[in-house]
């Protein structure tokens, strides 16, 4: 394994969830840029290229996460994106990335329900970064 420090962009409007995720990911050795809104995430994307991004679905608007996926992929098609949300179980809106059709729509590499254990998230990130 190389000694490269990977940069992870983390966007979530719940400050505590954001803090906890950032804390865990830093512990796992990532450099974390944590922001609380779609607007801030867009600013970060315009200035730097992360190695991976984790976006919450609903921030300023209900589809902030989708928009961020599009924008990130437009600028950096090769950067993996994880879309995280807690909404599916409650609203019954389910979408996965298993069908081709959903993949066309959702420009994310992985879709995660919130509440995932930090170790598990670390594992998923490593898989996406191929490390």
């Amino acid at each position: 394994m190389s000694n490269k420090v990977y940069k992870v962009l983390l966007a979530d409007d719940d400050p505590d969830y954001l803090y906890q995720m950032a804390f865990h990911l830093r512990k796992c050795g990532y450099e974390v840029v944590a922001v609380e809104s779609q607007a801030e995430a867009e600013q970060v994307i315009s200035k730097m290229k992360p190695d991976l991004a984790v976006f919450d679905l609903m921030m300023e608007s209900d589809d902030s996460g989708f928009i961020l996926c599009y924008k990130l992929k437009r600028r950096y098609p090769e950067v993996p994106v994880i879309l995280a949300t807690a909404v599916a179980r409650e609203t019954g809106i389910t979408f996965g990335l298993n069908s081709g059709q959903d993949r066309d729509w959702i420009r994310a590499d992985l879709y995660l329900e919130k509440g995932i254990r930090p170790e598990q998230l670390d594992l998923e990130i490593k898989k996406l970064l191929k490390i």
Binding site: D14, D16, Y19, I67, T91, Q101
Partner: protein, 382 residues
């Protein structure tokens, strides 16, 4: 057997006849549906012609090319949206550009069928669209019956209740696993945040109780003569610990009005919410002006602050349930996002209106106007 009308708007004749051919013998079944769906295909070569057919035939499904000789596909889509037609739209195009895709998505296009497509691809999309159309009509029906609204409310509510639980749970796990070291002092911010989230949750539950009271417990017996002056003073007392902390100064400008025939709880809700918001979103050392006035035909309550204000976009979503304005200035202000939607509901029970004027960084004025003639005729249900 039900038939859905599919309109194909594409300047390539081959695409139009291809769609017609593929769908002629195609039908869709769905476990929940009472019957099979078959398709009648209508064709238009231009957007203009498409609009004509849309107005005349009211198709169920629209397959829309974006690149057309006259007006573009997205403009047809805008037209459909503007007219509020019950049509499911799919764009037959590749992702020509992200902007078009996003715009089309915003205007309600639910699918993209990449061109060229195979019969299988078209059939898969049409099947998907048919199901969506079916579900959309069912949800529309439910919405009319008010069920959908309740469902949405509950789903957002459960999200809002779970978020603080998750946050507190996360911090407790960090403590349990000693992730920040063995000293309790390392965890002080985690503890503070947990307590804040619990406080927020408590406020949400309180608001929720108000909300259910307003929504479900209308009782004519509770109506009585209500003294607005008294309630205004009460609201100031309730919020005063916080106001003192923020050094907020109150100006009460209350005319000696006749009493209003109402449920005192309702006006307590109105005043408490408006006054506490005026303190919460104020600057330190700011002022809150409470005015109660009565004209021949209406009561007017207005609460003015010298706080952070709002821009028009933020104002537009203000009274929606669970909508909280999120920006740098509101980041550290807690709230359930229910308060003003409750106020609006209560005001409407009395056939009144609530208005807001606001200038960013100067402040906001909330004005409630309750017609006097209507006060005898209070709605008992929402």
């Amino acid at each position: 057997m039900a038939q859905l009308k599919v309109l194909v708007v594409d300047d390539e004749p081959g695409i139009r006849s291809g769609v017609a051919r593929i769908l002629r013998s195609f039908h869709v079944t769905y476990p929940f549906m009472d019957e099979n769906y078959t398709y009648e295909v209508l064709e238009a070569a231009t957007g203009e012609e498409g609009i004509e057919i849309i107005d005349r035939e009211k198709p169920d499904i629209l397959l829309l090319d974006n690149k057309l000789p006259g007006i573009q596909g997205v403009e047809v889509l805008e037209y459909v949206k503007k007219k509020n037609y019950d049509i499911v739209v799919a764009m037959i195009t590749s992702y020509a550009s992200l902007d078009v895709a996003l715009k089309a998505h915003d205007d309600g296009a639910i699918d993209f069928i990449p061109k060229p497509f195979t019969p299988q691809e078209l059939k898969a999309s049409i099947e998907q669209i048919t199901k969506q159309q079916y579900l959309r009509r069912i949800t529309h029906k439910l919405k009319v019956e008010g069920k959908k609204v309740r469902f949405q409310f509950l789903s957002v509510l459960s999200h809002e209740l779970k978020a603080p639980l998750n946050a507190v749970e996360g911090y407790l796990q960090m403590m349990q696993e000693r992730q920040m070291g063995d000293s309790i002092s390392e965890y002080s911010s985690a503890i503070d945040r947990s307590l804040q989230r619990i406080e927020g949750m408590r406020n949400l539950i309180m608001d929720l109780l108000d909300f259910t009271k307003v929504s479900f417990e209308r009782q004519v017996e509770k109506l009585q003569d209500v003294d607005m002056k008294e309630l205004a003073s009460l609201a100031v007392v309730t919020v005063s610990p916080y106001a003192i902390h923020k050094d907020i100064h109150f100006i009460k400008n209350i005319k000696a009005c006749e009493k209003i025939w109402a449920d005192p709880n309702d006006f307590e809700i109105i005043l408490n919410n408006l006054v506490s918001n005026a303190v919460k979103y104020n600057r330190t050392g700011g002022t809150v002006t409470i005015t109660v006035d009565c004209k021949d035909d209406e009561f007017i309550i207005s609460v003015e602050d010298t706080g952070i204000g709002m821009n028009p976009d933020e104002r537009a979503m203000l009274f929606e349930e669970f909508s909280r304005i999120k920006n740098d200035k509101t980041r550290n202000i807690g709230g359930s996002g229910l308060g003003l939607s409750i106020v609006k509901k209560v005001v409407e029970l009395y056939h009144g209106v609530i208005n807001v004027e606001s200038i960013p960084d100067k402040g906001s004025v909330f004005t409630v106007i309750i017609p006097r003639i209507q006060v005898t005729n209070i709605k008992t249900e929402l």
